[in-house]
């Protein structure tokens, strides 16, 4: 079976055994054909988040993708490529810090029910694989955008009953945050854990409004067109 890999300086095709996961195929190439092929991995069980790449233009976990004839593999987008399929995730990780995605003022003298747990169960399944970050078109125009996984994580903590200072989180996700998302849903489409960052961002917008923030784009538009209200696109 033939797969094509976009490497540092070249695009190369390799013949690999059938029926493998992409990660197993990459190791087969490394062992038998070209030891210099470079990529990241760890658990091989879809849980460590190390191995995300793009196959035929879509983000996948290499350890969870069964290869098909003529698959084209390339590194994640919007991450500096370090070597072949290995990218630098440092900058993407910093969004977590900027979004202040943690419990700010914990209180545990509260009752937590299974319903409370389920409200952010999915969001806390995130393995930080960066697939959604790579798929998000906003990074093409605004490299400082907080991006889908940081916002999903901010949402997860903002909805935690133990957080007694939700405003602190909301304050941190206004600039380059919830309002910069175009709600295109690309992030949701690629998440290997079935997380829906687009929905979480929509929810965070609601919470932001409750805390007195407003959509800066909306204000700008209604400024220019005083009878705005006929919908977008006019």
């Amino acid at each position: 079976m033939k797969i094509t890999i976009k490497r540092d300086k070249s695009v190369e095709s390799f013949e690999v055994s059938e029926g493998l996961t992409l990660l197993a195929a990459l190791y087969e190439i490394k062992e038998k054909q070209d030891a210099s092929l470079t990529f990241s991995s760890g658990c091989r069980a879809s849980i460590c988040g190390a191995c995300a790449v793009r196959v035929n233009g879509k983000e996948v976990l290499a350890c969870a993708h069964k290869i098909n004839e003529n698959d084209t593999v390339e590194p994640l987008q919007y991450h500096p490529v370090l070597r072949d399929l290995k990218v630098d995730k440092q900058k993407a990780k910093e969004t977590l810090k900027r979004a202040s995605a943690w419990l700010h003022q914990p209180q545990i003298s509260v009752e937590i029910t299974p319903e409370d747990e389920h409200r952010t169960e999915r969001q806390s399944d995130c393995i930080l694989c960066d697939s959604c970050y790579s798929a998000c078109p906003v990074f093409a125009v605004n490299p400082d955008f907080l991006g889908p996984f940081a916002l999903t994580r901010a949402y997860r903590y903002s909805e935690d009953k133990r957080e007694s200072n939700v405003k602190e989180i909301i304050d941190h996700i206004q600039t380059n945050g919830v309002w910069d998302c175009t709600l295109c849903g690309e992030c949701t489409a690629v998440c290997p854990k079935g997380i829906d960052p687009k929905m979480d961002i929509t929810m965070l917008r609601g919470t932001s409004l409750q805390h007195g923030y407003s959509d800066p784009n909306f204000t700008a538009q209604s400024f220019g067109t005083p009878d705005f209200g006929g919908g977008f696109g006019f």
Binding site: G42, C43, A64, K86, Q90, L103, S124, D125, I127, L128
Partner: protein, 549 residues
């Protein structure tokens, strides 16, 4: 100079860093990957603490169960320490935001009961709603969990908290050696995986939290690729002690082709184990070592073994074991609702490791502490109880961090000279200079298979000796082994070769301890010596003499 250098950024490393920082230390966490890539993310089942949320339980019962499972090889004071700290540790995790699974209010025990059972906990605390499940070997429903993502959610919450507390990280730095000029640690050397440079980091105290050595059983383990015991090997080279290395826990149900874990809950929920003839051959709920041996016997006799989950039905499987169903479909190409799941027992957890004292300080290296799966704090003994490892990494991770800080207060702040760094630069240059004669990826698979077959579930002195000879031959070959990729930066092959060198260094430690132990105890089972022997109720400790280093 740093107060505390934490090496390894899994659950143990992050817990140590947070505790040291809280105590007032300057801290740096160094790891070979990003923190959230660590193996801790793979733990599914749960974390033990006698909260008594679901049924009557008490730390003393937790202590009893742990001691029983250790088969006489634990330090009972350390077990008491661990189990007594458990509720407090869960409380800490609850406070930083771990999204534990919760009890429906209706199941919650009545107020009068809770007062008596959970007197350790503050009243009206959210801790009381944490759900607890049964794991093997526990006398009560004791394991706190977060669906089947317990390790993932603990690790990520620890990471988020580290970001909150401003802990500094240095990712993609591979531990080469500890700097131990005179029996006291002064820091460590690292390969910066990105630039290819060797760096020295000076510190007054060091916490090693680099995980276990399950990945030596390459191809026959649930562990991630990088669980190669790097920190254990570094301690060995620096003259520290290792102990109980022969005790490796095998999990009965790894997927046959990928060795990916099918968790114990698959059997707990009523799954059967059947052989080629479709017959059940063992009580599925027996301890892990017994079930593993029964399966191994079937396979040795030429048969295959399957997990039969079909009678549970599609719907139940989807709600109870969603992660597992997906992994079966992907890696075994079968749907467990309609087909048998082929399985084999695989290496899962390593009880042995760096020999530490009751303060978790490494025996033989002052100022150096070890926590988590890399350390042998003598709480698991000959067999680890499911759910005690996540407890150990957080409770003892924190304890190691605190003790490391205390040590740093009085430690000298005179940094070491650059001798170790120069040695390490020379060693790496030598690897680059060698011609390529052997491919280590092929050898790695050979080693995995060799250990599984000869140093595995059922051992025998004859084959153990064969294994030792073969591994020593591999060590000799490895000294000649060059690099197939000569790139100076981002050299994945170099890192994986260094991991393999560590694997080859500690493999003989496992085998020789297994040879020395002429008895069967817990996870160590030897043909010809099938019973426990009082004379072996002791730890086998290995330490290089000074001149051997």
């Amino acid at each position: 100079m740093l107060d505390v250098l934490v090496i390894g950024s899994g659950g143990a490393g992050l817990s140590a860093a947070l505790a040291a920082k809280e105590a007032g230390a300057s801290v740096l966490v160094v790891g070979k990957m990003y923190p959230t890539n660590s193996q801790t993310a793979m733990a599914q089942g749960g974390m033990n603490a006698a909260l008594g949320n679901v049924e009557e339980d008490h730390p003393s019962l937790h202590i009893q169960d742990t001691i029983k499972s250790a088969h006489g090889l634990c330090n009972e004071d350390m077990v008491r320490h661990l189990c007594a700290d458990a509720p407090k540790t869960i409380e800490w995790l609850e406070k930083i935001g771990v999204p534990f699974s919760r009890l429906p209010q209706s199941i919650e025990v009545s107020q009068s009961d809770t007062n008596q059972r959970s007197s350790l906990l503050a009243p009206h605390s959210s801790l009381k709603s944490i759900a607890q499940r049964q794991l093997g070997g526990a006398s009560a429903k004791r394991a706190c969990y977060a669906q089947d993502y317990t390790g993932l959610k603990i690790l990520h919450t620890l990471y988020d908290t580290c970001l909150k507390e401003g802990i500094d990280f240095l990712d993609e730095h591979f531990l080469l050696n500890l700097i131990v000029p005179e029996d006291t640690v002064k820091g460590a050397t690292f390969l910066d995986i990105r630039s290819g440079e060797v760096k020295q980091i000076d510190a007054k105290s060091v916490v090693i939290a680099t995980g276990g050595y399950g990945a030596l059983y390459h191809g026959y383990t649930t562990n991630m690729y990088g669980a190669t015991g790097d920190g254990i090997a570094a301690v060995m080279r620096a003259g520290g002690a290792l102990s109980d290395m022969e005790f490796v826990q095998f999990h009965p149900t790894g997927l046959k082709h990928s060795s990916i874990l099918m968790s114990e809950s698959a059997r707990g929920e009523g799954g059967y184990l059947v052989n080629t003839k479709g017959e059940r051959f063992v009580d599925e709920l027996k301890p892990r070592d017994e079930v593993s041996r029964a399966i191994f016997a079937q396979i040795q006799a030429g048969g295959s073994v399957f997990l039969d989950l079909r009678h549970l039905g599609e719907e139940k499987l989807q709600t109870l074991l969603p992660q597992e169903v997906a992994l079966c479909k992907l890696h075994e190409k079968i749907d467990p609702a309609h087909a048998l799941v082929p399985i084999k027992p695989v290496a899962h957890y390593t009880m042995g490791g760096i020999d530490v004292d009751e303060a978790l300080e490494v025996n033989g290296i002052k100022g150096c502490f070890a926590a988590g799966e890399c350390s042998n704090a003598k709480v698991h003994g000959a067999n680890r109880l499911g759910g005690n490892s996540l407890l150990e990494i957080t409770a003892f991770g924190r304890f190691a961090g605190e003790n490391a800080y205390k040590h740093s207060i009085y430690a000298s702040s005179k940094p070491a000279n650059g001798e170790q760094k120069e040695k390490d630069i020379a060693a790496i240059e030598a690897i680059y200079a060698r011609p390529l004669t052997h491919n280590h990826y092929t050898m790695q698979r050979t080693l995995g298979r060799l250990l599984y077959e000869k140093v595995g579930i059922v051992r025998e002195n004859r084959t153990l000796h064969q294994a030792l000879e073969m591994v020593i031959a591999m060590q000799v070959e490895q000294k000649e082994m060059g690099l197939a990729d000569k790139n100076r930066t981002h050299n994945q092959t170099l890192v994986e070769l260094l991991e393999f060198q560590n694997a080859l260094l500690i493999a003989p430690a496992i085998i020789s301890a297994a040879i020395a132990r002429d008895e069967s105890r817990g996870a160590h089972f030897k043909k010809g010596f099938e019973a426990e022997d009082e004379a072996f109720k002791k730890h086998i400790v290995l330490q290089w003499k000074r001149e051997e280093r």
